[in-house]
């Protein structure tokens, strides 16, 4: 039981005990001895299996990392369970990765096999290391966010179930980074991911004039619109939205709850692909639109899952070693990608906003696909 056991602190105690601006504890407290000793003196690493890698220090010391997937939303009891395992095999040391996987940090070789045994026994999914699919970066969804056009964790679970082999065993030409955002605010890495799902609204949001007058500042609402679609509506002493100009970004909703962007029938999902963050070989790339709309289909979003899988398999089949999805497509040309994938090319794929001039084709040189 924690520092104060199950005793709840009284208001007075709170005032007395609390301290602001202390910041996080220093990480040194949490590093296993082998890392403390070899901090900044690592020489090499070997990926021993998709869920296991060893880092070797100049001193010859080693630390093994056993990586397991998590759904990111985890119950406190699960935290305690992984703690039990870490206590048993890792001297109580573990970490999370930037993609929400857990890494058990093993310092003694003798524990490397047993911990993997136990993790398997307990049903943890080991993998994600090396040239394959790792965990899918995502957001809050219906679990907790107000703007969500879909559920985040639900789609991630559905997609990762389908692609689990690519996490646990199968190899790919390079890392393949998946992400999902539950609205265009894109809390995550969607805009620079190999393959990502972004939830979109597709309907001009209705305005509750009466409520708006009460709870929102009209100038702020008007200013929030990137396409100048919002103008004052003298009739209602509120605002009106020009349907011609609205592209459903939801920014007005973010600044004003009286504008209701959520629509069960119209909200849907788009698939964007070919992004990357790293500067290896090529500059970071933006994810670009492949499929503009798929209906929201809880609980398992079969078409979204199918679309992602389809593109993963094309990539596995056609890309050269070490090419990321975007590098592969940029090499063969987007026209070829659409031909290969059979994905329908829609008006939505043609930029008519910020990057239009950069993304239109201004050379008569391209490949014939029809």
């Amino acid at each position: 039981m924690g520092f104060y056991g199950d005793r709840k602190l009284t208001e007075e105690e709170c005032k007395k005990l609390r301290e602001t601006d202390i910041g996080p504890p220093h990480y040194k407290h949490f590093l296993p001895p082998v890392i403390q000793k070899n901090y900044g003196k690592w020489k090499d690493h070997e990926i021993l299996n998709p869920g296991l890698m060893v880092h070797i220090a100049e001193s010859g010391d080693k630390v093994w990392s056993v990586r397991v997937a998590t759904p990111r939303i985890i119950a406190t009891d699960t935290i305690r369970e992984v703690c039990d395992i870490a206590d048993k095999y890792c001297g109580g040391h573990l970490r999370w990765t930037s993609r929400n996987n857990i890494e058990f940090l093993v310092s003694e070789e003798k524990n490397v096999e047993p911990i993997q045994e136990e993790l398997k026994k307990r049903g943890f999914l080991m993998g994600g290391i090396g040239y394959r699919i790792s965990n899918m970066v995502h957001t809050q969804g219906w679990v907790h966010c107000h703007g969500a056009a879909t559920d985040a964790s639900g789609i991630v679970k559905s997609v990762m179930d389908e692609l689990a082999d690519y996490f646990t065993t199968k190899e790919l030409p390079n890392k393949l980074r998946l992400a999902l955002a539950c609205c265009p605010n894109m809390c995550g890495a969607v805009h620079c991911s190999d393959i990502a799902v972004v939830a979109i609204h597709t309907k001009v949001p209705p305005v509750d004039a009466e409520r708006l007058r009460k709870v929102c500042e009209i100038p702020t609402v008007i200013a929030s619109c990137p396409t100048r679609a919002i103008s004052p509506d003298p009739a209602t002493k509120s605002v009106k939205i020009n349907a011609e100009k609205c592209m459903y970004c939801g920014n007005c909703f973010t600044v004003c709850p009286a504008i209701d962007i959520k629509d069960p029938y119209r909200d849907g999902l788009a698939i964007v692909i070919g992004g990357k963050v790293t500067s290896q070989r090529t500059n970071p790339k933006f994810s670009r639109l492949a499929i503009p709309y798929i209906s929201n289909e809880p609980p398992r979003w079969p078409k979204v899952v199918g679309a992602v899988k389809h593109i993963v398999e094309l990539y596995a089949k056609h890309a050269r070693k070490y090419e990321r999805v975007g590098e592969w497509i940029d090499r063969i040309g987007w026209e070829k990608f659409f031909q290969l994938s059979g994905i329908e090319f829609t008006y939505q794929c043609i930029d008519d906003f910020t990057f239009m001039r950069e993304t239109l084709r201004n050379t008569p040189t391209f490949k014939w696909i029809s």
């Binding site: 301290e19 929400n100 959520k262």
Partner: protein, 415 residues
């Protein structure tokens, strides 16, 4: 406790990948909040819509952020999530933990919250999903309590128009490629700017992310206003035997390494690899694909890039190179000073909800560079401007004309 039947989300307990539904159910067994969260989630799945209201401003005494207020739109149906705020707890550098502290966090979450967490939020925080307004102060007190030993004391992370919780790759803790101490830099910047972190005084959010090399394992270029990416100034050292070792393991050096080098500065004759280091842009491809065979050398530090933001509303911006090379030595005064200068300029030149990257676009790079005392350098651009429209300050022309007079004297042009 009310028993919801949840046929739809139950579907998400099937399959090989770990299930968040199973997790919420675990918590729901002993927690009313978690139980109603479960109920509302099933209802969302049934009706295809989320039911959370806009975040009202809630928080702890003396802070303007760290808590995201959440209220259910359906308090009658799901009374225990009428209040369902999230608490963002600033994670330690590199997300390293001991079981002791994790248990402490878990206990606090159970005692005052829903028993559901996010490990971690996309910005990097530990997120306690769901608690009431009344419980915020106790949570904060237990997290920060003066009675606790240092390593058990945690603080809140950022939210709103403030500096956000910085994060970093594990760098020196477990990676051979890092060019500076990402973990320490992340820690010190977080500590230095506690006020900026907890008391939103900016016009919008500002994020730091620290990556030890161009691999960018913390997605700094794409997810932070200030991307600190490790790099070096010196030749790549080559262990020819190690390259043979990779060849034996099946690496096709010519095809997979030499041909994929963006600047074509590697040659390999089957015996020895050569790198024309003056042409190398330090992209890390060869180094990472031939691990332990190649090693950077010379001066280490980082390239500071500024201005990334998510697409809303004028399209994604990636961070732009501002300081090509900064020595990153504790206590990182150079970076701290840069941050202060940047923020002053940003403050003076922005309207609410304008990220620094947007403001650089509105005001132009010159205004920004002058404010932080950085001269224009070719490093700042992929390519120079394309259009015949640009600004001159009165003095610019005079300087240029003076230069021309000099040239007349010397008879040599300085372009």
């Amino acid at each position: 406790m009310k028993k919801y039947d949840t046929p739809l989300i139950d579907e998400l307990e099937k399959g090989p990948f770990p299930s968040f539904v199973t997790e919420i159910k675990k918590a729901a067994k002993k927690n009313e909040m978690a139980n109603d969260e479960l109920g509302q989630l099933e209802y969302s799945f049934k009706t295809n819509r989320g039911y959370w209201k806009h975040g009202g401003i809630v928080g702890v005494l003396g802070y303007g952020g760290g808590i995201i207020g959440r209220y259910s739109e359906l308090p009658d149906k799901f009374p225990n999530v009428e209040f369902f705020h999230t608490v963002r707890i600033n994670q330690p550098s590199g997300w390293f933990y001991t079981t002791e502290v994790l248990r402490e966090i878990a206990d606090i979450c159970d005692k005052y919250g829903s028993g559901i967490t996010n490990f971690h939020g996309s910005t990097g925080d530990m997120v306690l999903l769901g608690t009431t307004t009344a419980n915020l102060e106790p949570i904060f007190a237990e997290l920060t309590s003066k009675e606790k030993p240092a390593h058990l004391r945690f603080d809140l992370g950022g939210s709103g128009s403030a500096m956000r919780t910085p994060s970093c790759c594990n760098g020196p803790a477990r990676c051979e490629w890092t060019n500076y101490d990402t973990m320490e830099a992340c820690y010190q910047i977080t500590q230095e700017f506690q006020d900026e972190l907890h008391r939103p005084a900016f016009n919008y959010k500002f994020k730091f992310k620290f990556a030890g090399c161009a691999c960018d394992c913390v997605a700094s270029m794409a997810r932070s206003d200030c991307s600190v990416v490790g790099t070096w100034r010196g030749p790549i050292l080559i262990d020819q035997d190690a390259i043979k070792w990779h060849e034996k393991k099946g690496v096709d050096v010519q095809r997979d390494i030499v041909n994929m080098c963006p600047t074509q500065c590697i040659t390999y004759d089957g015996k020895a690899m050569k790198i024309d280091n003056a042409e190398c842009i330090r992209c890390m491809h060869c180094i990472s694909k031939l691990h332990h065979a190649l090693k950077p050398s010379g001066e280490r530090g980082a390239t500071i890039c500024i201005g990334n933001k998510a697409p809303i509303v004028i399209g994604t911006i990636l961070s732009h190179v501002i300081i090509p090379f900064m020595k990153m030595e504790a206590p990182f005064n150079e970076l701290k000073e840069l941050a202060r200068k940047m923020w002053d300029w940003w403050d003076e030149n922005s309207k609410p909800r304008e990220r620094i990257g947007e403001v650089i676009e509105f005001k132009g790079m010159r205004s920004f560079l002058e404010a932080i005392d950085v001269p224009p350098m070719p490093y700042h651009v992929k390519e120079p401007r394309r259009d015949p429209f640009w600004f001159f300050k009165e003095e610019d022309i005079e300087v240029l004309k003076k230069k021309e007079e000099e040239e007349k004297k010397t008879g040599k042009f300085k372009f």
